[in-house]
């Protein structure tokens, strides 16, 4: 039921996208990285430039290459959005799951960050939803930070809009995410905020101090983008 809800909503988006592209005479056959919306140095000192460059040009890039390499095994992937792939990822092999998740997760991650002071703040409607779900903004941050700190090994922390339009906090191992139609994904939903807690995301600046990374990361959250994603998820 959850699966069909997600795949349905993503199909609607896809049809609109296809119509636009057909009109423009463009077809695409592979997944691509969106350009980083700021310079590698833009998130310093919270996230150093070397980390951003390695993270974007090596870790994320290798996932996109790995996902595109699977198109030969599953030609239909070439005509799907990444969201469509993930909401039915149980049909595909581990390489699609790992690389597809990796690609989607990093796409979100770059966009939900902005240089400190430039990310705006939670909109009235999002702030009200956060208060309703968690009691306060402070409490949401505490729960989200705990989810990120408590993810043993590699993974992600998420703030999601669940299929019944509620906010929830969860975390996933490795490159899994709440869109995936896998039984082990405990909380399913549309991510509106995500934090990468793979060691590659923070090791050069913070080493073993994941807690410090999480604390400073809040300074570079792009609330304008989180607000936009929240409203989009509520409309779906």
């Amino acid at each position: 039921m959850t699966k069909s809800w997600f795949c349905l909503s993503h199909n609607v988006a896809r049809i609109a996208l296809l119509a636009g592209l057909t009109a423009a005479g463009t077809a695409w056959a592979q997944f691509t990285q969106s350009p980083l919306p700021y310079a590698y140095t833009a998130l310093e000192p919270q996230i150093d430039a070397m980390t951003m460059e390695l993270h974007y040009t090596r870790h994320h890039k290798s996932a996109v290459d790995g996902l595109n390499a699977q198109i030969k095994n599953y030609p239909e992937l070439a005509n799907m959005t990444i969201e469509q792939v993930l909401c039915q990822v149980s049909k595909y092999n581990t390489a699609v799951r790992n690389n597809g998740g990796n690609h989607y997760n990093h796409e979100i991650f770059w966009k939900v960050m902005a240089p400190a002071g430039q990310g705006g703040k939670p909109s009235e409607v999002l702030a009200a939803a956060i208060d309703k779900a968690f009691g306060s903004m402070e409490e949401m941050r505490k729960l989200f930070s705990a989810a990120a700190a408590g993810r043993f090994g590699s993974g992600w922390a998420w703030l999601v809009v669940t299929p019944d339009k509620k906010l929830a906090i969860t975390s996933t191992p490795n490159q899994d995410n709440p869109l995936m139609d896998l039984p082990e994904i405990a909380v399913k939903g549309t991510p509106i905020l995500g934090l990468d807690v793979w060691e590659h995301a923070y090791y050069l600046s913070y080493q073993n101090r994941r807690g410090d990374y999480i604390k400073h990361w809040w300074d570079v959250v792009n609330w304008n983008e989180v607000n936009r994603r929240y409203e989009e998820a509520m409309r779906q």
Partner: protein, 195 residues
């Protein structure tokens, strides 16, 4: 009982440039130490308080106590899997078992490298001895360890990013290749195989 961080079997700079002193400052001094500290804090007042490390690993359910105990053991084992001037090939009964399984040491190296590079996320890649005396390569995730299985660990390489990020960045293949070429302690593995 209070668990202790065991001393390193060599100086922190002994494996440089293949594994730097800076890596040991963090990997041994911070990560390994934190697992010991966390374990001691978590077992206080529990049924695990007076158990030995291996006993805790074999009996604790999935969760913090298991994770920290297994990571204490895995790291101590890993330090012993390396030595200054390591590398080369094993000899004796272990070499025979490897040849029997993979045909040659070179084929084993290829298989071990591929397994370690493909161990997605954080984890460990092991050469183990099966109960029938044959050998195999096993990947484990996060803190998981062959200690909870019938397999006997012979050699391991840590493929958590913290094991190689300072020295190799994202280049896990280069790290594993260097581990086999310059660091691996085959006499330790031979003794484990015989034991």
């Amino acid at each position: 009982m209070e668990h202790q961080l065991p001393p390193l079997p060599y100086a922190k700079d002994a494996l440089a440039p293949h594994m730097s002193a800076e890596t040991f400052e963090y990997h041994y001094g911070k990560h390994h130490q934190a697992y010991v500290t966390n374990l001691n804090n978590l077992i206080k007042g529990t049924e695990y308080e007076n158990k030995g490390l291996e006993d805790i690993i074999k009996t604790a359910p999935a969760g913090g106590i298991f994770n920290n105990a297994a990571q204490v053991w895995n790291h101590t084992f890993f330090w012993n899997c390396m030595k200054p001037g390591g590398g080369g090939a094993p000899s004796g009964a272990l070499a025979e078992a490897i040849n029997k399984k993979w045909g040659s040491y070179d084929e084993f190296k290829k298989a071990f490298q591929a397994s370690a590079v493909g161990n997605f996320g954080s984890g460990w890649t092991w050469l183990v001895k099966k109960p029938d005396g044959s050998v195999d390569i096993v990947n484990t995730s996060n803190a998981a360890t062959p200690l909870t299985t019938a397999d006997k660990p012979l050699i391991t390489v840590d493929v958590w990013e913290h094991a190689y990020y300072i020295d190799y960045r994202n280049a896990r293949p280069k790290f594993v290749e260097t581990f086999l070429e310059h660091l691996v302690n085959w006499s330790f593995a031979e003794a484990n195989y015989a034991g």
